[in-house]
C-alpha cells in the first residue's frame, strides 16, 4: 500500500481506510480524500498531556478516502519501515506516515536526548504495519546483534527498532577541554538485537561541538 515514487515522495493507495501523516505533508492526491487534524497525535487526552509536558510535540493528521495520496516533506529522503508487533523509536519530526493501526506514544530516552538535541523524550510507534520515516540524505539500516554492538553519532541517529538497550558514551578527555576535541566525544551505544537507522548527515548537537 506504501509505494515510493523516487526517493522523496511517498504514494499511499487508500481504499476507504486511513493513515496517519505529518500535518501538512500532502503534496497531491487523486480520488476523494478527507484530512483531519488529530489533536494530540490521536492518543487521547492522556497522550495530549504527555506530549505537552515532554515537549515531544507531534502534529499528525488522519487521511481517509479512496484513491492515491502523495506525501513529501521538505525534499527529505523517505525510508519505509515494516513493523511486526514491534516498537519503532523515532523522533516526532522524522515521522512522516504510519498505518492507522499503529499506536503512537512517547518514551523517555535518558541522557542521549540531551546530547543529540532531540530532548529527553522520543516518539514510539507500536504494532504491526508500516511506517515511513524521514532522513536528511538516504538512511542506512544497520543491524545490531548480541555479539555486534553498534556506536552511533547522536546527530546522525534517526530511529531504531527491536529489542535494544542504549547507553550513552562519552569520550571526553583533557584534550576536549583544551579545545582539541575530535567532534566525536559523544556516542550512543546500542546493544541487543534490532535495527538502527542512521542518516549521512549530522544535526547540530550539543555533543557535536566538542
Amino acid at each position: 500500500m506504501f509505494r515510493l515514487q523516487g526517493s522523496k515522495t511517498l504514494a499511499v493507495d487508500l481504499t476507504g481506510d486511513a493513515v496517519k501523516a505529518k500535518n501538512g505533508s500532502m503534496v497531491a492526491y487523486d480520488g476523494r480524500m478527507a484530512f483531519k487534524k488529530m489533536s494530540g497525535g490521536g492518543e487521547g487526552l492522556r497522550g495530549m498531556v504527555t506530549r505537552r509536558l515532554t515537549g515531544e510535540q507531534m502534529v499528525m493528521m488522519e487521511v481517509k478516502g479512496q484513491g492515491t495520496c502523495y506525501f513529501a516533506d521538505r525534499a527529505s529522503e523517505i525510508n519505509l519501515v515494516s513493523l511486526h508487533s514491534d516498537t519503532l523509536y523515532v523522533e516526532a519530526s522524522n515521522l512522516l506516515v504510519t498505518d492507522a493501526g499503529l499506536r503512537t506514544g512517547t518514551s523517555f530516552t535518558g541522557l542521549r536526548g540531551g546530547a543529540n538535541g532531540n530532548g529527553l523524550f522520543t516518539t514510539t510507534v507500536e504494532g504491526t504495519g508500516r511506517a515511513a520515516i524521514l532522513s536528511d540524505g538516504s538512511a542506512v539500516a544497520l543491524r545490531v546483534a548480541p555479539q555486534y554492538p553498534l556506536n552511533v553519532d547522536p546527530g546522525a541517529y534517526i530511529a531504531h527498532q527491536g529489542r535494544l538497550q542504549q547507553h550513552f558514551r562519552s569520550g571526553v578527555n583533557f584534550r576536549t577541554f583544551m579545545g582539541e576535541g575530535s567532534g566525536e566525544s559523544f556516542q550512543i551505544r546500542f546493544e541487543g538485537d534490532g535495527l538502527v537507522y542512521v542518516q549521512p548527515s549530522e544535526r547540530n548537537t550539543l555533543g557535536g561541538d566538542v
Binding site: Q5, G6, S7, K8, G24, D30, M61, Y70, D73, R74
Partner: protein
C-alpha cells in the same frame, strides 16, 4: 530532444545556428564551442508590447538568449531539474521556475482571472503565484526547476488530481484548475490539518509536483 540530463541537477543542451534557446540569466554552468549569451532586456520573446505585459504582470524573469553552435550546460542553485517535452500543447509554469527552453516555443503570460474569474485571482493569491503565470506553447522542450525531486501525475477526464498549492510546479495539456477549499470549523479555531486549500486540476494532461512544500 535538445536537453540531455547529465544528472538530476544539470542539463546539457545543443545549440546550432538558427536554433537558439532562452535560459534564465546566470544559469549557464559551462559550455563548449562558440556560443554567445545575450541578456534579454525584454525578458523573453515578443516585442515591446509583451515586455510591458510581463513587467506589469510581474512575470519578468531575467532571461538571456543563447545562440551559436555548441553545447551548453545549465543548472541553478542546486535545484532539481525536470525536462518537459511539449508536443503542441501549452505548459503553465511560474517564470522563476523556468531554467531554459527552446527558442521554438511561444512564450506568453496568462492572467489567472481569465480562468475562473474572481476565483482565479483568489487562487493566484493563495498559492503565491500572483495574478499571472507564464505559458509556453508549441513543439519543444522546457527545463523547469523544483525543490526536491519531481513526480508527474497524469490527469484524465473524470479523475481530477488535487495538489497542495505549495508543491505545485507546472502543468500542461488541456487542464482546468480551480481552488478547492476544505475549510471547516477546525481551521477557524486553529486546529486545521494544514491542507485547507488545494488546487483541483481536471481535464486531460499532466501536473508536476515537487517533493517539498518550499518555494524556490
Amino acid at each position: 530532444m535538445p536537453f540531455r540530463e547529465i544528472n538530476s541537477k544539470m542539463v546539457e543542451a545543443v545549440v546550432s545556428p538558427g536554433r537558439k534557446m532562452y535560459s534564465q540569466r546566470g544559469a549557464m554552468l559551462a559550455y563548449r564551442g562558440d556560443v554567445s549569451f545575450t541578456p534579454n532586456i525584454q525578458g523573453g520573446q515578443g516585442g515591446l508590447g509583451s515586455m510591458i505585459g510581463r513587467r506589469v504582470a510581474d512575470e519578468a524573469a531575467p532571461l538571456m538568449t543563447v545562440e551559436g553552435s555548441g553545447t551548453v550546460m545549465f543548472g541553478h542553485g542546486g535545484h532539481h531539474i525536470q525536462v518537459i517535452d511539449l508536443a503542441g500543447d501549452t505548459l503553465c509554469v511560474e517564470a522563476d521556475r523556468l531554467l531554459a527552453f527552446d527558442g521554438t516555443l511561444q512564450q506568453g503570460t496568462l492572467f489567472l482571472g481569465s480562468q475562473g474569474g474572481v476565483m482565479g485571482m483568489v487562487r493566484g493569491q493563495v498559492t503565491g503565484q500572483g495574478l499571472f503565470t507564464t505559458t509556453l506553447k508549441g513543439h519543444g522542450a522546457v527545463a523547469v526547476m523544483a525543490h526536491g525531486g519531481v513526480i508527474e501525475l497524469p490527469i484524465t477526464p473524470g479523475r481530477p488530481v488535487h495538489v497542495d498549492p505549495q508543491a505545485y510546479v507546472a502543468h500542461h495539456g488541456d487542464v482546468a484548475n480551480k481552488l478547492s477549499t476544505a475549510l471547516g470549523w477546525r481551521d477557524m479555531v486553529g486546529r486545521g490539518s494544514g491542507e485547507a486549500f488545494q488546487l483541483e486540476l481536471s481535464g486531460n494532461g499532466a501536473v508536476y509536483v515537487q517533493a517539498s512544500e518550499e518555494k524556490l
